[in-house]
């Protein structure tokens, strides 16, 4: 249940898998993403509501053949240049995209978590998304006759999230902004949770979300594993790292050097632009 991160990724993430790394600005599983890069996984369908720096890195590293998402950007900074390069120039490999809105993606996870084949929402009406994305259809209310949007369930092969704590039985505790992580874990066939620390007992925290061990396949300790995003109660968001990523990612060469540094680092190391070269 509690395993080293490199073993967990090695066992749970296979080439060609559909993999969702979730975390809404807070608690992004960056260390796990870097481990996927380090193990040179490829052909992945990457799923994420808000692909940001770590997905830009995985896409630039050639891990992904397909991206299912609703908003891809460097929050507070601008665009994702590796994502753009993949979409606009197929570099380093072509990237198919399947694009939804947040409401649609959130409900796709909810349907997946609920064992339903689809979800119903008021969404997409009149937008070009509805015509560009094959996984947006409509359904008729059997009581009112009204037509509503329907989206298929998301059931990733693996969901990966980061949390503050887990106990030794694999019960996971997170708090603060917890986004769609519970739904992603429940929707997935397998799940990996990286945590700031493994503790003997999970003292209750207001606003906590608990993932019982029964829905968690593996827990890996990865202190600092959400940086440069933040872990409430542990560390702040490293805004400078997001800004620094903009320059690195604009240039294929600079990105290549960054990639080399990640690949040559020891397993479990988290590499952040602003932290390079520091003791």
């Amino acid at each position: 249940m509690i395993v080293p991160l490199d073993e967990a990724v090695g066992e749970l993430v296979h080439d060609g898998d559909t993999v969702a790394l979730e975390g809404f600005t807070h608690l992004i599983p960056v260390a796990a993403g870097h481990e996927i890069i380090r193990q040179r996984r490829c052909g992945l369908t990457l799923v994420r509501m808000t692909p940001d720096v770590v997905y830009d890195q995985m896409i630039g590293a050639g891990c992904a053949r397909r991206l299912v998402f609703s908003w891809g950007g460097n929050p507070g900074v601008g665009s994702l240049h590796r994502f753009r390069d993949a979409v606009q120039n197929s570099w380093p490999v072509p990237l198919e995209i399947e694009e939804h809105s947040h409401a649609g993606m959130a409900n796709r996870y909810v349907a997946g978590a609920s064992g339903l084949p689809f979800a119903v929402l008021r969404g997409y009406l009149g937008t070009d998304l509805a015509s560009r994305t094959a996984t947006i259809r409509t359904v008729e209310c059997p009581f009112t006759g009204e037509r509503l949007a329907a989206v298929p369930a998301l059931n990733p092969d693996v969901a990966i999230v980061h949390a503050q704590r887990a106990d030794r039985a694999g019960n996971v505790q997170m708090w603060g902004i917890t986004g769609v992580q519970k739904e992603a874990v429940f929707a997935a066939r397998r799940s990996l949770v990286t945590v700031e620390e493994v503790v003997d007992e999970l003292a209750p925290v207001p606003g906590q979300v608990v993932l019982p061990h029964r829905v968690v396949t593996a827990v890996a300790e990865a202190p600092g594993g959400a940086a440069p995003s933040y872990a409430q109660g542990y560390y702040e968001r490293d805004n400078a790292a997001y800004q620094a990523w903009d320059a690195i990612s604009r240039d294929r060469g600079a990105f290549g050097r960054w990639l080399e540094s990640v690949r040559s680092a020891a397993p479990g190391t988290v590499s952040h632009p602003t932290r390079e070269g520091r003791p």
């Binding site: 809105s101 947040h102 409401a103 959130a106 409900n107 009406l125 009149g126 037509r147 902004i177 968001r237």
Partner: protein, 262 residues
Amino acid sequence: MTLTWSADEIMTVTAARALTDGMACFVGIGLPSTAANLARRTHAPDLWLIYESGTLGAKPGSLPLSIGDGVLAETADSVVSVPEIFNYWLQPGRIDVGFLGAAQIDRYANINTTVIGDYANPEVRLPGAGGAPEIAASCREVVVVVRHSRRAFVDRVDFTTSVGHGSGAGDRERLGLRGRGPIRVITDLGVLEPDPETRELTLVSVHPGVAVEQVREATGWDLAVAPDLAVTEPPGETELTELRKLTGRYVADRPQSTASQE
């Protein structure tokens, strides 16, 4: 003393004024967030801010850089999941005003944040939809904040990420969209509102010192001008002070207690 301000500052101050105290406001990141937080610190202390990350009633003391900053969670009345924000709050029409930005906006206030150029072979790939399509559909009304340029103000958006007024009067109703849609577009040059009849965006106000021709030149269609065109009320000292505190541009070059006496 004469107050001076930047084009971005009058845009943000004007956008903040569009928000009424006590409203529930769904806030996009960037310019909308700055304006909403300015409103909360000036005329609308009970403005209720919702961010799509799940924070309800956030009262950030400093500007969040993202929609999921810790300061939002720590100051919120409640933090809920992302599905709950969209399903229990936005979708049923509980939000008074949605506050959006845009990469492109067109004559009928349709918004594009997806691609410039062709979808399959884009010139510029933009971040995408995020929460915007449903914010634009379900909030009782929508306010858009965007810098004025011919690149942004286009006759027809390359991609309709979020529906404004579609192709004109009656289109929202035909599509089954429940909210009223964009009621105001605030830029660094002036303010546009949909024509009550046609729903075409019309210039209703220019900021002090801005010529109508300047706005028309920065607009990618033949911009209509309201007969009773107004000049935007200039930012007040409190507004500017609070805005600069928020954006970190405030320089306390004199004791604050005397500032209000000048």
